[in-house]
Amino acid sequence: MTATIPVRLTRAGLVATARLLLSLRAIDLPPPAGAPRILVANHVSHADFVALWSVLPPERRLRTRPVAGADYWERSDLRRWIAHQVFRAVLIDRDPNSRRSDPVETVAEVLHGGEDVIFFPEGTRNLTDTRLLPLKSGIFHLARAVPQAEIVPAWILNLDRILPKGAFLPVPLNCAVRFGQPMRVETGESREDFLTRLSAAMLALAEQKG
């Protein structure tokens, strides 16, 4: 899978900007475990993709693909190019009425192929005042479909403070992505229990100091 020069330049530019401008870094990134990974994070802005992606070591970055809504990313040529070429996003149809393929299956296929995914379990960008929206059940179904996959909770710190809703200029702040312990759906665990456990793990990362 060789990338064209504009794609490489865009990737390098995004990573360099994120690193330089936001002094972005990973906190407690768990070492690779051999199993495919679902990186699960809070979602407040489009920069979240870039943030999570930039803090990964380069060799893992190239095999980590964000899962994103096709309705948004298929809307223009530029968005399509960014989604398909730059991020190699896994686009899923979020509308259950119109979709022709099962999103869980689409993402599971990527994981089976040995690649990692970035997944925003809130299902959409959180533009409210609450820290975390109630998690959608997609992550539970995905975890059940690929039981060997590790779910790694992550929290993107400060990115929401850089450009709050309605603000015009971004204010540079130091950002970081904090990772938690990998988890899996336990045998017999119900959907509600799992989603509660996952959102608690994510919120715990948000509260942690240092």
Binding site: S23, N158, L169, V171, N174
Partner: protein, 312 residues
Amino acid sequence: MERFHSPSAFFFYGLFAFLLLASLVARLLIRSGRVKGEMAQNLADRIRAWWVMIGVLALIFTLGAGAITLFFALCSMAALREFATITHTRRDDHDGLAIAFYAVLPLQYLLVYFEVPVFAALLIPVYCFLLLPVVTVMKGEVQGFLTRVSETQWALMVCVYCVSHIPAILTLDIPGYPYSAFTLVAWLILVVQASDVLQYVWGKALGRHLLAPRVSPSKTVEGLVGGVLSASALGVALAPFTPFGWWQAGLIALTVTTFGFLGGLIMSAIKRDRGVKDWGTLVQGHGGILDRLDSLVFSAPIFLHILAWGWL
């Protein structure tokens, strides 16, 4: 070619020679296994960061006053970012912070560079103090108001106002002094930073009595006394390149290193209160840029005032 023969150039030659020696000694210590593990890594990181920092300083000193001013403006930017990150500021403070970053900071350095000392002295302590809270109060959010506006004001004072005093020294023209003010900036940075390093070294070697255990677990009485005295001795040794007599150089070095120490202590208290160990991760092995600049922040204004009142 004069800039390669100036006293500040020779300070840098000396520093590079010293760094070379330090690198060799560190390598020997690590190879012989006397320093190992995390400590060895930290030592190697710190020395590498010193090479970069001194290299960059040598380069900007060669390029001239514009480069030095721009460099410290960038330092202010990075420092302000670190400071703003740990404040309680929220959505309603966003405009105030944006003004601080994009208007106040550049303006302060322009005032310094184009030598408008009166406004450079008043912009942040008076006009920002009066006007930035106005921007915030317009948002109508009162919760934590005093905390939030004070934090923004502190961030500007520490990261922009105080840091801008370093390049401001370049604008001084001291009658009868044969060298340029570059030498004075180099002297200040050298003495204050040497004091930091020497406090660390003396503290590691002899430190027994913790100075302020609740504020900083690493600052000791032995480290403070040893560091401040030996750095002041260095300041005295370099007195022939300054407009100061021997005893004056000693007293001034003692003053700036003491203020440098107090600055480190104050900044430690802020970090402790906000639950962080370092200000950031910009300087490998050292933490953030504020971890490296904290002592200069509190000593540069004092040094500038000593020069302005005593030697102009």
